[in-house]
Subunit: 107 residues, 2 copies
DNA sequence: TGAACATTTGAAGAAACGTTCAACTATTGG
DNA sequence: CCAATAGTTGAACGTTTCTTCAAATGTTCA
């Protein structure tokens, strides 16, 4: 007869700011372009131009998304001469993507 | 000296439809309201009205988001008299949320 | 049957998003 | 120093998203 009240459920939820961060994180994976970029960087560190070639997208579009991913601390860019090499900046990225793919492939 | 070409990277990426499904999945977790709903349902199966109370949101808003989650096959609703009880419809949900939370909490 | 209740639905409006284009900054090599 | 190359940035745009409100549906019970 273990009853759980609404108030108790409310208390068990993560704080609002945690929920917001969580949603922000998942939002990063919630766009096909960003998902592809992350997948690419999982394979190999790449320059912006290379990503643009591989994904067949404009440099500008790729750059805009890289900025978003950078601000979420999921990737980082390192200047090398006039080019910028991007790499994953987070260990969880791979794990999270993997779980997602497992789910998607198990239908 | 193992070189990886752009073409090879392209070939290593998941198919576009997989990437799209993946993004669709993560999009579900990418909204605070939906994240909260999923968190609640992780604790206990709940009626729409209960969710609306717990989250302090209009019934309509909750119902709209439940429809989205339902169409993504992450929750399911079962009619019980005039109420509808919602529950998680997917084993991965908990794992994915957990990984996300781990990430968010490890800053 | 009809009033009350629980939920769904559709339209509307505001805000957020993603791409494009053009302009800009930064770096290198001639 | 100038031109060429790599990348970033901001504004504009069309699209999608989320909430609200009002109306509709479905269910129970008096």
């Amino acid at each position: 007869m273990s009853e759980i009240t609404k108030q108790e459920i409310r208390n068990m939820l993560p704080d609002d700011d945690v929920i917001y961060s969580l949603a922000e994180l998942f939002k990063m994976f919630g766009d096909p372009t960003r998902a592809k970029i992350l997948k690419c960087l999982q394979i190999k560190d790449l320059y912006v131009g290379e990503l643009s070639d591989i994904l067949n997208m404009s440099i500008s579009a790729v750059s805009h998304q890289l900025r978003v991913l950078r601000s979420a601390k999921l990737v980082k860019g390192t200047k090398e001469g006039k080019e910028v090499k991007y790499s994953l900046d987070d260990d969880h990225v791979t794990k999270i993507l993997e779980y997602g793919l497992t789910h998607v492939n198990e239908e």
